[in-house]
Symmetry: C2
Subunit: 116 residues, 2 copies
């Protein structure tokens, strides 16, 4: 068994033209013995965003804290704590923080995807 | 894409000798097109608990709110918001609420498991 506070994992920080103010952590991965799917936690700073992209695996997301939006099919959709998102493979998407505090979400991918 | 507040899903309530004060929801399942893993959310009322059991699939869990404990290998381990747990297949476990508010956790299983 693995049990940890997610902040115990060293984050990978992204700040470039496609991804801004993002601290990303693999909190359950192959190193823990996970074989079927992986859990990552993203902290997106106020004004920050993930890349707008498409890939051939799905996301299952849970919003833990803060407020943001998810881009899909030409529109931005609001997200708040307790919301869940199933983003199927091959559908373009992006996340951004629209609030004044850190936007924290859990994002899972199948094991065929890169862990991060 | 599916996007919803988790409370929009009708819960299944458990109150019996092995599982007390638990409201369980499949928030991302096969009905959403998920093929590899499923997301469930459990609300455990103060004093409530899940069954102590073993099964041949893993759990990946994230604690959203409240305070509780996870039983594993003869001990109870404290859990608070932001904690994650990887419970491998075939390891006995149980969860309980040790606080005064609802203990809310996200619990994912591979698609070989029952959705709930």
């Amino acid at each position: 068994m693995t049990m940890r506070g997610y902040r115990a994992v060293t984050p990978t920080n992204f700040n470039n033209e496609t991804m801004k103010g993002v601290a990303a952590r693999v909190v359950i991965g192959s190193g823990d013995g996970a074989q079927n799917f992986f859990m990552r936690i993203f902290e997106i700073a106020p004004g920050g965003y993930t890349p707008r992209h498409v890939h051939d695996w799905e996301h299952e997301m849970f919003i833990h804290s803060g407020n943001g939006e998810c881009y899909h099919d030409g529109q931005w959709h609001p997200l708040k704590p307790g919301d869940v998102v199933f983003m199927p493979a091959l559908e373009e998407h992006q996340l951004r923080n629209t609030g004044n505090e850190v936007f924290v979400l859990v994002c899972l991918v199948p094991s065929k995807a890169p862990e991060l």
